[in-house]
């Protein structure tokens, strides 16, 4: 599509969507949000860019094959699950090595651990898989339009 308004707006919107998606991913453990919603948010940004520029351009700027991204995401989630059992708990059990609860003072440290890894995996899986679907569909429709001309 060749629209100056859309192109200019996308230049502004894409970073907002991506930052918002990461914020939503980050707050997801205790508040509404999480990897799935965050991933979808990021997809909106990428899809908007793909419409404003082109599919090829979006693929180029994404740098990685979206399916590989989804694969890496799935791997992150599995590792996040295995981490729990490697640390002596059950599969998928939450582990926070830099985080502890001190009675009387509340929580201390960084809430980074297996749960965040799992959620990041979900984020990447959704981003990769949905982008792959959108790109494949757009390309098929585009090829059809070209073919009918």
């Amino acid at each position: 599509m060749n629209s100056t308004i859309l192109k200019t707006a996308t230049r502004l919107l894409l970073p907002i969507f991506l930052i918002a998606s990461i914020l939503i991913l980050w707050r997801g453990h205790n508040q509404p949000g999480g990897g799935f919603i965050g991933g979808l948010m990021a997809v909106i940004g990428v899809a908007l860019y793909a419409i404003a520029a082109s599919i090829d351009e979006a693929r180029r700027r994404l740098r990685v094959d979206p399916l590989v991204l989804a694969g890496v995401g799935l791997a992150c989630s599995v590792l996040g699950g295995l981490w729990g059992s490697a640390a002596g708990g059950a599969f998928l059990q939450g582990v926070w090595p830099f985080y502890e609860y001190v009675s009387g003072e509340g929580t201390k440290g960084w809430p980074i651990g297996s749960v965040l890894l799992f959620d990041t995996g979900v984020y990447l899986t959704v981003l990769g898989a949905v982008c792959a679907i959108i790109f494949a569909l757009e390309e098929a429709v585009f090829a059809e339009r070209e073919g009918s001309r």
């Binding site: 694969g71 890496v72 599995v78 059950a90 599969f91």
Partner: protein, 516 residues
């Protein structure tokens, strides 16, 4: 390693393999990784089965969320053995796919999708939570959608439309059934459901949920009258894919029937049993008659899957210990034989150039070894002694005679005869008669990667047939645990829950006596 992890590996390993093969899908290393992953799955399955055989059923709570609130994984002999057989099929399919699956299909992700399918299959075998079962069904379904269309051929698109459309209906019925069940019982853990629903089997909501789930699992298992997706699609993808589908997809449906209609619902209940019984017999008969009308090797075999599913459901419908043993034995035997027959169909296509019966022939002269390798699973499928299928059919027929369901026994035997006719039809057309165009000597030699899986599975069929004893004992033990849901509950929820259930049962009995 804690025994709980034994339950996780059969799901995590194919998941990891799927990721690796997805990333490596355009590289030649991908094939090797896929094979290693399949072997690892088989090893994980065998370890799990050994553990279960030695120490009895085990369960694990994901994330340490106690049952019934978290997701439970559970394995008894039946589920562990199914994982082992899925592993065997996985190895065979990956080896077979080396020559059978085209470069293009591999570049799109044949291996990744196959392993994703195995994730769903093993997850469905091992889960102890009915909503989780739904999720694994979906994983399996999405992967199978992908496998059906990666070839991109015209007929594959058409087949996929039918497969997808009809399976999605079944899926929605499953979901709605789970919703109704949750509304009625307030829990989704199968063990907890057993306790909650033990004396509420004839409530309308419970029966409605049972009907929805019976429809959903029946459609997955290709029972009459919801089997149309199967013969529409199984003859279109690559042969390795066909074999994978034929071996595992419908059997997950049968497994779900066996599990849910023993633990959650009472399969011998007054409402369910007649439906199951009539459905099973009609499935057998319609499937075999459909096969007799076909003229294409894989289409004949597809209809035979339906008819064989009828035998397994029949085992569940009769609901005597012997019948359940028969159903389980049938499940084990059928997966191996059916995968093998689809493999043989691939070699027939490779050598004779077609699958249509009147375009092929001359294979007996061209390859006597292949003829033997076809006869073993074919005769086993028809139930000729001493092959594995004979024992499977024998147990089922014996069980129906003991239950005094004469007409069922007659139907089972007649279906066996017509199966033999179908197999003879393939034998005459592909092996016995002359090839319409080609000279036997000029036919291409089938690659070893296609012959080895066939030979291995054929040897297994013969071994199961000759030494049926140990497998029968395993099936018997599996049936004992399956028919004792309280043992299942004890493993998942702990002995206190069972003791409580027994106490309240005893109290009710006392109350009833007092009332009298």
């Amino acid at each position: 390693m804690s025994p709980e992890m034994l339950l996780v590996w059969p799901i995590a390993l194919p998941m990891i393999t799927a990721v690796l093969t997805l990333v490596l899908r355009r590289s030649p290393v991908g094939d090797t990784v896929s094979l290693v992953g399949a072997v690892a799955l088989l090893a994980a399955g065998i370890t799990l089965l050994m553990h279960v055989l030695e120490f009895g059923p085990i369960s694990a709570q994901m994330g340490s969320w106690a049952a019934p609130f978290g997701i439970t994984l559970f394995a008894d002999i039946l589920s562990a053995a199914m994982v082992v057989i899925a592993g065997i099929v996985a190895v065979a399919v990956v080896v077979y796919s080396r020559q059978d699956v085209s470069e293009g299909e591999r570049a799109v992700g044949f291996h990744a999708l196959s392993h994703a399918l195995l994730v769903g299959v093993c997850g469905a075998f091992l889960t102890g939570d009915i909503f989780n079962l739904y999720v694994w069904f979906e994983v399996m379904l999405i992967a199978s959608f992908g496998l059906l269309v990666i070839g991109g051929r015209r007929d594959q698109m058409d087949a996929a439309v039918k497969y997808v459309g009809l399976n999605l209906i079944a899926t929605l019925a499953f979901l709605a059934g789970v919703g109704i069940l949750y509304g009625a019982a307030g829990t989704l853990n199968m063990a907890d459901l057993h306790l909650t629903l033990a004396d509420r089997q004839n409530e309308t909501a419970v029966l409605a949920a049972a009907a929805m789930l019976l429809f959903a699992f029946g459609a997955k298992a290709a029972m009459f009258p919801v089997f149309a997706w199967l013969p529409a699609s199984y003859h279109t993808p690559a042969f390795a894919t066909s074999a994978l589908f034929a071996a595992l997809l419908t059997k997950v449906g049968v497994y779900a029937l066996l599990r849910v209609f023993t633990v959650v619902f009472d399969g011998s209940g007054a409402f369910l049993q007649p439906i199951l019984l009539v459905g099973a017999v009609l499935t057998m008969v319609v499937g075999v008659l459909g096969a007799a009308a076909q003229n294409d090797v894989r289409r004949i075999l597809s209809f035979h899957i339906i008819s064989q599913i009828g035998y397994m459901v029949l085992g569940l419908a009769l609901f005597t210990p012997l019948a359940i043993i028969g159903a389980i034995f049938y499940l084990f035997h059928h997966i191996i034989v059916k995968a093998n027959l689809f493999f043989v169909a691939g070699v027939i296509r490779w050598k004779a150039g077609s699958e249509e019966l009147d375009k092929i022939g001359g294979l007996l002269k061209a390859s006597p070894l292949l003829a033997i390798l076809f006869l073993i699973p074919a005769l086993s499928l028809a139930g000729v002694p001493p092959l594995s299928g004979f024992w499977a059919k024998f147990i089922i027929v014996q069980a129906s005679l003991e239950a005094r369901d004469w007409w069922v026994a007659v139907a089972a035997l007649a279906v066996g005869l017509i199966t033999l006719f179908s197999m003879t039809k393939i034998w005459l057309a592909a092996f016995w008669k002359e090839h319409p165009d080609a000279e036997p000597a000029a036919m291409p030699v089938a690659p070893r990667s296609m012959i080895w899986p066939i030979a291995t599975l054929a040897v297994m069929t013969v071994i199961i047939g000759i030494a049926a004893g140990p497998l029968y004992t395993t099936a018997e033990e599996a049936a004992v645990t399956l028919l004792d849901p309280l043992a299942y509950v004890e493993v998942v929820l702990g002995p206190e829950a069972v003791a409580e259930a027994r106490a309240s049962e005893a109290a009710e009995l006392q109350l009833a006596e007092v009332a009298q």
